[in-house]
């Protein structure tokens, strides 16, 4: 039906921006030095940039690593290094591929860390048993062999408040506006955030814990006139809490909890019964940075 039958005459083309590597490499590392085991559970993507024209244009693979080799390398370096944060491991990966990869001039690593908490048994966190948590920690490191650009982040942080949120004063005279104003609604959002650093020496683990705590704390502490306002307040609070961070970005969907119309059935609905609408959703994105 959509078939193209004759072969077109070839025109002159060229390869421009490109990269290759391996994605979804799932590495689990256990530190067994002490009876209290430490674990890291990460999914890694590594990609390289450089002069790979021969492979693309002439089919000459002499300048390419197998992506299988990229995978093996990630596991090997996880053994030899990866003593600290995913941000540091990302730097180890990028440095390695820029140094050893043929015709490689740059690389980036994207790491998602799956978080586990110690199972609480007999009143304390267990030495070697864990239960998976919902939020994820992310890092992206990009480098050219000389310097690194490090971005950290959080995903899957689903927050909700049952009051202290409203939506009023917006443009009402628009032809397509039908939504009534409210000074009391349920606000829910699935926070994705990423942030950059002022210097190279941040303690990424400690910063992450502070951001994670502060986002939750700030979410509770104000009446929110809009998700945009909350986005800004979250950014302000994180930058105030964490002097290491230069700027922070949020993507915050408004997971609408719509008051269900019960009046049709002779029932009151004093902000008690809501339909959780899976889609569509309002979507807000923004950077907050130091002034």
């Amino acid at each position: 039906m959509t078939e193209v039958q004759n072969t077109p005459v070839k025109v002159k083309v060229r390869l421009t921006e490109n990269n290759y590597g391996k994605a979804d490499v799932h590495v689990f590392k256990v530190n067994r030095e002490r009876p209290r085991h430490e674990i890291k559970d990460i999914t890694v993507r590594v990609a390289m940039t450089g002069d790979f024209e021969a492979a693309h244009v002439q089919g000459d693979n002499t300048g390419l690593l197998a992506t299988d080799t990229v995978r093996n390398t990630i596991y090997g370096l996880a053994k030899e290094g990866f003593g600290g944060s995913i941000e540091r491991f990302g730097q180890e990966l990028v440095a390695h591929f820029v140094k050893t990869g043929p015709r490689v001039t740059g690389a980036f690593a994207e790491i998602t860390e799956h978080l586990w908490e110690r199972i609480s048994a007999n009143g304390q966190g267990h030495d070697h048993s864990f239960v998976r948590q919902m939020p994820k920690r992310t890092a992206r490191v990009e480098g050219d062999g000389q310097t690194f650009k490090v971005t950290s982040g959080i995903e899957n942080l689903y927050l909700l408040k049952t009051t202290q949120s409203g939506w009023e004063g917006y443009v009402l005279d628009e032809r397509f506006t039908t939504l009534p104003e409210t000074s009391d609604r349920v606000m829910a959002t699935y926070v994705t955030a990423k942030w950059e650093y002022l210097g190279d020496d941040a303690d990424h683990d400690d910063v992450w814990q502070r951001v994670y705590g502060q986002l939750q704390q700030t979410f509770t502490d104000h009446y929110s006139p809009s998700l945009q306002s909350t986005l800004y307040l979250l950014g302000e609070a994180v930058l105030s809490r964490c002097p290491e961070i230069s700027r922070i970005w949020f993507q915050m969907p408004n997971k609408h909890h719509l008051k269900y119309n019960l009046e049709r059935f002779g029932l009151e609905n004093n902000n008690e019964i809501f339909h959780v609408d899976p889609e569509p959703f309002g979507l807000m994105e923004g950077w907050v940075e130091r002034a």
Copy 2:
């Protein structure tokens, strides 16, 4: 390509077991009686059984509810009732539809509860701000207007231990066996469980908390020779902890953490570096009941 062109001569057929209703009805309820709000976040399926032959065979809808009505009813009853557990709400739903649904002789309700924890702010759980947790609570209630069969459950409970688990002594002389034995491995599983009750008066909320705690506690407290053995021990512990429960079923995938072969690269791997294999996975299912 798979087209069937002529119309076949009709043969005599009949409708047998059937049901209809509404699924994925997402209800959020806030109890605002006190400043410390209580919330319920549930997804509901309701289905009815009965004599619906006229609708199917003659296209006569006089004996059918609109599934839209089913939806409205779930929201209405969530307002009027739903003061306690999802198991009790399931009973309210089933009783309603058996009583009021035309030609309805039975019904079942399947409810998944999404769990939220109070955000910890200023040292205590916040009154009206919450953060989503990973595990889910489930209930299924089936009834004919006289009695109810109640099943409770848990999903998305992802547990892992880094030691105190092995896999030895299994059948080795089989042609297709290549896996080496081990007395120390990572064991990880995504527990799905459901259980039934001895009587009608269980405190379902309290039982659920005890099961949830006991599953984690028992997961930590033994050397596991197989996932099957752990399944049995989990069942035994839950039945010991909860006299209200008559039997419990588990589905436990073995989320394989495979020791990565680093020896090829001149590196040791003392159970430190693993590949987390997304598929395939061993899958164990079983019921444990009172003897």
Copy 3:
């Protein structure tokens, strides 16, 4: 928070119905005997039942296969057999595990086949290049070593009609009914079907093609007063087309296409503009069998 601290006194329990095996084994087979390659792309689950009490209760694995062995076996048997349909391969798998598995008295295999069509190039289907299709073919075979129960099916068949469907005459005097009647709506459903056979000698591939074609043909050929009526007509047509089939089951969600209220904006909506609601959805299930 949900911690259980003391260990409960053990009560007497026993293992009842149980099974174990391997799931999500993804096998791809190419038949290269002729230049025109034939392919099979399947995901397999195999589970065994039998006397596995020693493994569960005493931690004695001598009667267990490694599920890794189950995986190897599936690949090995795919090489040695699997010359025909997934239903036949399911029988080969079940027969093998019942015969060779220690303490095994029964087994079942669940197979999902991912469908590919030859890429149309230069006016005809290509010999060795394929493009993935959306529907999936399924089979389930269960057996005890003597006989097999075979169920075939189809999934992911998403059908839609823009007219010749309505919903009228249903119960209107119910308190919670608000939906208006209509004799012209969009009807869309995501068909899941499974069927059983009268005898043991059906040509499963040919039957599947006839069912697949007939479901589409019948979906087009009538005014539908309800999804229930269409479910019945689909069943009647399949049983008429395929004398090999004894009965067929459908699960058909009503993927609601809701007429968007444009009158608020001074616009007519003559069944032109719809919101596709992701959830909730009406859900109909039913068996149609020979009378």
Copy 4:
């Protein structure tokens, strides 16, 4: 556990790049002018940029549209316009929001079109019955009120060939390389592509059909020494086939089909039996443009 208790002293911050709008708006449009209905099934995201500082910083919503209004507008404009391609509808949306949105200086629309084929009944495509297809068509339009930047694309195009693909001559002396070379393998990839135009007057529907057909045709017509080489050839072919296109980008995962080691069981595997590995996967990205 990750709680932050004291409130940090606020530092000075500012809002920089930001946008807001509505996502996952699922619109279905039927053109009923003739008995042969035409349908459009799309999911839309619209986002606006501009001066929204007051809303973020002062909680002053007077310059904001409700995202609910954005949704209503999308449905309203789908009724009044949307007579052609998703690229044209994206332009209508962007033009509308830049013109009418308060403090709006730019906007973008991202549209995914779900594709349906007419059901083949009685030897021809049916007038009003459809079956969903797997690939998706995409468009992104960005504009400032004066000009539009249009990008078109395709997703979910899963292609596979059983021969005429190899992987040889890559870097072998790297410490972490273990993969053997092959001149005959299964190659499978899930193509995501997007392209830009030379001028403003392209027939986007016709271009899309040509790209869709050419990608499949070119995939079949060569021995592939690497996925990178195929990526380049696909780009060259599309640019040769479609003079309207200035450049095209591909993301192509290498969905590895790994030859299963059957020799362990005394079985040959002449490229017949493969394990389809869900992850990790090689991932190639690149732009091909006119020289």
